[in-house]
């Protein structure tokens, strides 16, 4: 279990202010403190995490491990963040599946950010073993006035199929930043949907997706940003494509108010020959140059 944990959680879990480790559908270890409470939902279907108002720099780890083949784990994690609280939440799911049965984790994360609270949410998906591994994360975020949510998601190889849905509703002066990093290979399939409603004045959303699609993999990126009032959004989808991979980007920006300012940029292409040539003139081989460009792109 610990090796899988290391793949999905960067910090030392014992040092987190609170944590909840879920393994094969059950909570196996938990830590709370006076600011951060973790409460079970009925039928071990998930947890409610309550962060007290004015909590500063709390770190919460909620990893999920699936090591038994053939498990389909659906978990609901709800985060209730108090006013002015500032926390980092590190979630991640590791599947170790060496058998023929499919292992699946569908995490439904809901964030309720009170006024002026700040959350940095880091999520990492990792799969190992030859068995089929499926992740279908759903994230819903409700941002009250002046709150900030930064979401960082990383999925590098190992996941056969994933459909990710992220929905957010932003009130006045709320800010949402999403950074997605994705690398697919073999026959992998990854679909991402972002649905963002900018409801309050001066709400802003910044969505950046960088992905690399190789071999026979398929990626689909949809962003649907609606500016209902004076608001700002910048969505950028940038993909490197190789071999027989396919990448589809569907940008939707919908301004329902004349003072909404919405921008979408999408670029899909192979690695520029000029970049490869430059690195080769510095002594790298073609393969080394490609590796450096991809690693930099997903850094």
């Amino acid at each position: 279990m610990s090796s899988l944990l290391n793949k999905i959680i960067n910090n030392k879990i014992e040092e987190a202010d609170s944590y909840n480790i879920r393994e094969n559908g059950k909570t196996v270890k938990r830590k709370e403190n006076e600011y951060i409470k973790i409460v079970n939902k009925p039928n071990s279907k998930g947890i409610d995490i309550y962060v007290k108002e004015d909590t500063l720099f709390g770190i919460i780890d909620i990893p999920v491990i699936i090591s038994e083949s053939g498990i389909k784990d659906v978990v609901y994690n709800d985060f209730h963040i108090g006013e002015n609280a500032n926390v980092i939440i590190v979630a991640g799911c590791g599947i170790h599946n060496i058998k023929h049965k499919t292992s699946q984790h569908d995490g439904i994360h809901r964030f309720y950010l009170s006024k002026n609270s700040k959350v940095r949410y880091v999520e990492k998906h990792y799969g190992e073993g030859t068995g089929n591994k499926i992740f279908n994360p759903i994230t819903e975020a409700y941002l009250e006035e002046g709150s900030t949510l930064n979401i960082e998601t990383v999925q590098i190889k190992g996941v056969d199929k994933t459909t990710r849905i992220t929905k957010a509703e932003l009130q006045e002066n709320a800010t949402l930043t999403i950074n997605e990093k994705l690398y697919t290979e073999e026959e992998q399939y990854a679909k991402t949907d972002f649905i963002v409603n900018l409801n309050g004045e001066n709400a802003s959303a910044h969505v950046t997706s960088r992905s690399v699609a190789t071999e026979n993999s398929y990626q689909e990126f949809t962003s649907d940003v609606i500016g209902n009032t004076k608001s700002f959004a910048h969505v950028s989808c940038d993909a490197i494509i190789k071999e027989n991979a396919q990448v589809k980007a569907i940008p939707i920006i919908y301004a329902k108010d004349a003072s909404a300012n919405l921008i979408h940029e999408a670029a899909i292409g192979k690695i520029a020959g000029q970049q490869l040539t430059k690195l080769m003139t510095l002594g790298l081989t073609l393969k080394e140059a490609e590796k450096m460009i991809i690693e930099g792109f997903l850094k």
Binding site: Q274, T277, K278, M280, T281, G283, L284, T285, M292, E295
Partner: protein
């Protein structure tokens, strides 16, 4: 020493380079000049292996490098500064300098290299080599990657292109320094008289042929001043 033997290069049925024979000697500073489309950049790319000649041979210190790859030539000590430097998302100036110098260097060492090209190093070392940098900044970083490698043969393709006058003045100082320190061959493609002024030898290329090789006097017709007298500044 670099030697071209009967180098020809054709593209799309057009003769870009016609039977080039040329020797470049060690510790010399050469400038190739000539009208647009005369084949200057192509000649430089052929040395680096970015373009392959249609026929002919290139010898580098008596080794035939005609069929060697870009990587092999780079590792033999040939360096190339591009006219339009490549940009990279996510790769920093520091990353690029580490590759150029072929070892792990400290940020202080990276800063020292950058200060040679007139960049206030601490501001730049962690910046990404992307389009947020100006043309002049990218150009200097490009130069820094060459200086870092200390090549035996350094090629600079129109280093003055796309930079403002202020940056250009600094660039001249960088090249004067290279000229003084140079242990190998320096080859610059340029139209700029101030760069031509510091050359040991000027190679004039026209219509894919070497028209003349010599000192600045070979350009008298081109740079002659309409008011009479010597070269116009």
């Amino acid at each position: 020493m670099l030697e071209f033997k009967n180098i020809c290069f054709n593209k799309d049925g057009k003769e870009i380079l016609k039977n080039i024979n040329l020797k470049l000697l060690d510790d010399k500073f050469y400038v190739i000049t000539g009208p647009n489309g005369s084949g200057k950049s192509t000649l430089a790319k052929i040395i680096m292996g970015i373009e392959k000649p249609t026929s002919g041979t290139i010898l580098f210190n008596d080794i035939d490098i005609t069929n060697k790859t870009i990587t092999e030539r780079a590792n033999m000590g040939i360096g190339f500064a591009f006219q339009q430097p490549a940009v990279f998302k996510g790769i920093t100036v520091y990353d690029l300098l580490k590759v150029a110098i072929k070892k792990d260097i400290t940020k202080v060492e990276a800063c020292n290299i950058l200060s040679k090209v007139g960049l206030c190093a601490l501001n730049y070392v962690d910046r990404e080599v992307n389009t947020s940098l100006s043309g002049g900044e990218l150009k200097r970083i490009e130069l820094a990657t060459i200086l870092a490698r200390k090549p035996i043969l350094s090629i600079f393709d129109e280093p003055e292109a796309g930079i403002d006058l202020w940056s250009f003045n600094n660039l001249i100082e960088v090249f004067k320094q290279i000229e003084e320190d140079s242990k190998g061959i320096t080859l610059i493609i340029s139209h700029q008289e101030r760069i031509l002024n510091i050359a040991d030898k000027i190679i004039l290329l026209e219509n894919g042929e070497i028209k003349e090789v010599g000192d600045k006097s070979i350009l008298k017709d081109i740079f002659s001043c309409p008011k009479g007298g010597d070269l116009c500044e």
